[in-house]
Symmetry: C2
Subunit: 425 residues, 2 copies
C-alpha cells in the first residue's frame, strides 16, 4: 500500500513533465500498455518462475491474469502484432507496475517506471539514442555527475563460450553471479562461482574479464588485444565501436564507461546493455536497459530487433531529494478570501470566481469559521495573501490585499484585485 | 486488456493538464491513493457484495487484497486517520481503477477517473465548489452546453419516509429503481416498483415527486408548496437554497437544473447529489458526485463531513471526440535528417543533438535505409520538414530544409538549421 501525498505528487508531476519533454524531442510517441496482462504474456520471457514475483490471480472466467511488472513486456506485446506501423516504432511510457517481492530501499511493491523503446532497428545508433534519452532525462531534472556503464551481452556470452561454458543453465547461473559484482565482495563472488561448479581457473579468467572498464576508447583498445576465436565476439566489438562513434557525435561519450561487469541479470537482453548511475551510487542504478532482439519473436508474431531503457521514478525522486534539486513547493492557493459575517460568503464566492478565471489559485472559507480560525488555516497552509471581506469592505467595495509574510497591505477596488494579484509574486 | 495508443495518449495528456489546471485554481492538492487496498477497506461502504464487481485476490501472506474501483474510497482512507491536516482538506486525484463487470459503452474494466474531494465542511458552499470544479473542467476542455442535474438525498429519503418507507432494505431497493429512471421506460419502472412490493398509489406519488425538475429557483418554489412533516426535509430544502445562492454567485446557476430523480444509486451518498451531462446525453453522465458525510466514520477514525465529484476520462474523451474538440495531433517529429551514405549518420547525430537541445523534435535514420525508404518513413509519419545529408552537404556544410507539404526548400548553413526551424511553423 503506497499513497502519494501532495508533496510527492507535485514532485512526480514535475519529473513526469521533464521526462516527457525529452522523449518528445527524440520523436518518441507516448503510449500506455494494459495494466493487466494474460499470465502467459508475463511468463513469456522467464517462464512460470515469474509467478513468485508478481501479483496474479484467476478471473471469474478462470483466465489467469497478472498485473504488469514492467512496461517493456506490454509495449512489446502492443507492437508485436502490428505490421502497419512504419519502423522504427519509437514508443515511450510512464506508468505504475507491481512486483510481489520484498521491498528494498527505493523499491516498492507498486512503483513507477519511465520506459523508452525502439523497435525495428538493429543498429547501435538506436542503442546510442536510448542511452542519450536516459542521459538527457537525468540532465533535464538537474543531475549532473552521472555515469553510464555499458557492455555487450554478446561479448560476455562469446567470452564465456570460449571458456567452455556453453549456452544453458550454467551460463545463465554464471551471468547471475556476475550481476552481483557491485553488491558482494570478491570472496563471496568466488564462493558463489564455486557453488555452481565453475572451476577456479575459469573463475580467475571471468573475474579478470569483467574487471575490464574505462573510457570507451581505452576499453576498445584493450579488447583489440584479446584474441577472440568466436565470430560473435568480433561482431560484438564492432557494435561497441559503432556505439562509441555515435555517443561521441551526441556529445555523451564523456558520461560513458565501458564496463564488462554489466550483464543485466539474465533477463531478455542479448546485445548492448547499460546502467545509469547517479554520482552517489548508493541508491543503485537510476536507469538500465539494452537490446533484446529475441523478445518480439517470443510473442510469436514477428522478428523485430529492439532496444530500450527504463528507469525507476522512486529512485530518481530519492536522488533528486538528496541533491536538493526539487523546485520549491507552491502553496495550495495564492490568496484566501476571509469572510466576517455570513452573507459575505456570497461576495467572496463572486470574487473567487473572478480570480480563478484569471488562473489565480484562490480559496474561500467553506466552514463558516471565525476570522481567527480562518487566519489559522491561512497560516497552516502557507497561503501568501489574504483579503478580508467585512461589512465595510462590502459597502465601500474597497479591500486590502495583505501579504502574510511582510504584513504589508495594499488597498484596491474589488474589481482590481485580480490585476493586483497577478503582479504580486 | 486496454492499451492506450499514441493518439489517445496525446489526448489524455491534454485532458489531464486541463483538469489539473482547474483543480489547482481552486486550491486542491493533487495526490494518489494506493492502487491496491485491503479487501475490507473496499468492502467498507457496500459490504462483501462488492467482491462480485472488483478484482480481488489473496496475497502470499493470505491477506485479502483488491484493486481500487474508485478514488473516493482511497482518498477517504488516506485522510481518515490524519488529524494533523488543516481543514477543509481539499484533495484531487487522476488515476486508473478496475471494475470486474460487463464493459458498457464508454466504460471499461480498466478506466481512469478524475476525482475532487473536500473533507471537513458540511456547508453547501463546499458542494457548490465541487460542482463548479466539474463545470469548469467541462468548460476548460471546450464543452459548452452541459447541464448539471442536482438533488438532495436527504430530501428524497424524507419524502420516502413520509410515504411509509422506513430506512432499510426496501428504501434502498426503491432508490435503486429510481436511479434507473433515465435508462428504462415508465412501464418498466412501474413493474420494478411492484416487484419490490411498493403499493401502486405509493408508486404514483414517487413518480410524481421524482418528475419534479426545472431551474433551481422554480423547483425551490415548488418544494415550498409541498408540506413536509419531517425536519429532515426542511433542512434539505435549506441546503438546496444555500446551494442555489452559491451557484448563482459563481455564475453557474444557468448550467444547473434541480432534478429530484437524481439519487446516485445507493452508494455512500447522504446529502446533495448531482450528475453532469454533456449536451448529448447519450454517453451518460460525464461526472457525478455528492455528499457522503457518513463514509469517514466507517473507517473508524473520525466523523468528517465530505463532498466530492468524480468523472470518467473515457466518457469525456468520447464527448470531446464527438464535438471535435481535440487539438490537432502533432507529428512525432518536426524534422527528419536523412542520410545518403553511411558516414553521414555521425553528422546527422551531431545535428540532431543541436536541434534537440533547442527543443526541436528531431528524428534520424536508425536503420541505414536507402533515401527512398527514408522518404517513405517521413511521409508515413507526417513529419513536416526534411534535411538530406549527402557528400555535397557534408563538404559545403550547407543544407536544404525541405517543407514536405509545399516542397519549398530553404538553403542554410549547418549551424543555422535550428534557428531556421524555430521560425518555421
Amino acid at each position: 500500500m503506497k499513497d502519494i501525498d501532495p508533496e510527492e505528487m507535485t514532485r512526480r508531476i514535475w519529473v513526469y513533465d521533464k521526462i516527457r519533454e525529452i522523449v518528445l524531442r527524440y520523436g518518441f510517441q507516448l503510449v500506455e500498455p494494459s495494466t493487466i496482462e494474460n499470465l502467459e504474456t508475463l511468463e513469456a520471457k522467464v517462464g512460470p518462475a515469474i509467478r513468485n514475483e508478481i501479483y496474479w490471480f484467476k478471473d471469474k472466467g478462470e483466465r489467469s491474469l497478472g498485473l504488469r511488472f514492467d512496461l517493456t513486456v506490454g509495449l512489446t506485446r502492443m507492437i508485436a502484432s502490428r505490421t502497419d506501423l512504419p519502423e522504427p516504432i519509437k514508443y515511450a511510457a510512464i506508468g505504475g507496475n507491481w512486483r510481489y517481492d520484498e521491498p528494498q530501499f527505493g523499491r516498492y511493491r507498486y512503483f513507477t517506471q519511465w520506459d523508452v523503446e525502439i523497435f525495428g532497428s538493429a543498429s547501435p545508433s538506436a542503442d546510442a539514442e536510448v542511452i542519450c534519452v536516459g542521459a538527457d532525462i537525468l540532465e533535464n531534472v538537474g543531475l549532473k555527475n552521472f555515469r553510464i556503464k555499458i557492455s555487450n551481452r554478446r561479448l560476455t556470452d562469446a567470452y564465456l563460450n570460449e571458456l567452455g561454458l556453453s549456452p544453458g543453465e550454467k551460463l545463465d547461473q554464471t551471468l547471475r553471479v556476475i550481476d552481483k559484482i557491485r553488491k558482494i565482495t570478491r570472496e563471496e563472488l568466488e564462493r558463489e562461482f564455486l557453488a555452481i561448479d565453475v572451476k577456479p581457473e575459469t573463475v580467475e579468467k571471468i573475474l579478470d574479464f569483467v574487471s575490464i572498464n574505462g573510457s570507451p576508447r581505452d576499453v576498445l583498445q584493450k579488447l583489440e588485444g584479446l584474441r577472440f576465436k568466436e565470430d560473435k565476439a568480433r561482431i560484438a566489438i564492432t557494435e561497441l565501436k559503432l556505439l562509441a562513434d555515435s555517443l561521441e557525435a551526441s556529445g555523451r561519450i564523456g558520461n560513458c564507461t565501458y564496463d564488462l561487469s554489466i550483464v543485466r541479470g539474465i533477463d531478455y537482453y542479448d546485445g548492448i546493455v547499460f546502467e545509469g548511475y547517479d554520482k552517489d551510487e548508493e541508491v543503485g542504478a537510476v536507469f538500465g536497459g539494452g537490446r533484446y532482439d529475441g523478445l518480439c519473436k517470443i510473442f510469436g508474431k514477428r522478428d523485430l530487433p529492439a532496444t530500450g531503457v527504463a528507469g525507476g521514478v522512486e529512485r530518481l525522486l530519492i536522488s533528486l531529494e538528496k541533491a536538493g534539486l526539487f523546485p520549491k513547493t507552491k502553496p495550495v492557493a495564492k490568496v484566501f478570501i476571509a469572510t466576517i459575517q455570513e452573507d459575505a460568503i456570497i461576495e467572496a464566492t463572486k470574487l473567487a470566481k473572478q480570480l480563478r478565471q484569471r488562473n489565480i489559485a484562490t480559496a474561500i472559507d467553506l466552514k463558516g469559521r471565525s476570522l481567527s480560525k480562518q487566519l489559522e488555516y491561512v497560516n497552516a497552509n502557507g497561503i501568501p495573501y489574504m483579503i478580508v471581506l467585512g461589512r465595510r469592505e462590502l459597502e465601500s467595495r474597497v479591500v486590502k490585499i495583505k501579504n502574510m509574510a511582510t504584513r504589508v497591505e495594499v488597498e484596491t477596488g474589488l474589481d482590481e484585485v485580480a490585476t493586483h494579484l497577478e503582479r504580486l509574486e
